[in-house]
Subunit: 141 residues, 2 copies
């Protein structure tokens, strides 16, 4: 079911400082800062060849990463996002196996404009998992 | 400097249970359990297409993940490993930029039989980073 690791998300207290470190100390290619007010984050993408790392800083009063940063003021790894080709089927299988989908259990549109769900960290060893529906580049005709 | 994400390591309290969940609930391909007593871990590799996830359970009295699991009894994301082509040069650049390498600062042989260093999480937003020296598959002759 799960495919590629689409990204690894890291919550950071200071996005510009974090981006500088990835660029200057680790020599990575980093994007410009993007603001996603509808998702409550400012984000920088770090290219890692086979996948990407997303550095996230809270934006606004209702950011989904504010509580995480309150518990982890230095920042830390926040979630892993795996690609799936059919998110409705994925959610059905998860529910049959007793794994919990956060929120109302229905996919919503995530920060990349694609349907996503988040899975309960208690069901996956303390790891917050995001599933994102990505259509295969080439489909059988 | 940093290249591909070689793996994402997740510390888990019960390796067999974690492996079953990745296989049965997430539908991933998972390896058999491997014991690495010289590294203080039992490990299962989860294939994710473009990279892999390593599920780690402590092995023996002196495991490097015992303290992490004491702080995070459910488990959690432990580190990200990036590939570098020249670890000695990487360590030199890190030190010039004021980033700290854990231990005596010199590469040691990691769980994959290749030279590795770990970087201080305080220098990278609470994220433990491993660098592993991987020789390019094709070198200019």
């Amino acid at each position: 079911m799960i495919g590629r690791v689409n990204h690894i998300a890291i919550a950071v207290p200071d996005l510009e400082r974090a981006a500088r470190r990835y660029r200057d100390v680790l020599g990575a290619r980093v994007s410009a800062v993007q603001e996603l007010p509808e998702h409550g984050v400012r984000v920088v993408f770090v290219e890692a060849g086979n996948t990407k790392v997303e550095l996230l800083e809270p934006l606004g009063d209702d950011s989904p990463i504010t509580a995480f940063l309150a518990r982890n003021p230095d920042g830390g790894m926040h979630h892993i996002c795996y690609e799936v080709t059919d998110i409705v089927m994925a959610v059905r299988r998860l529910s049959e196996e007793g794994a919990r989908v956060l929120g109302d259990g229905r996919p919503r549109i995530g920060a990349h404009g694609l349907p996503v769900v988040f899975l309960h960290p208690k069901d996956f060893d303390g790891t917050l998992i995001e599933l994102e529906e990505v259509k295969p580049e080439f489909e059988a005709s």
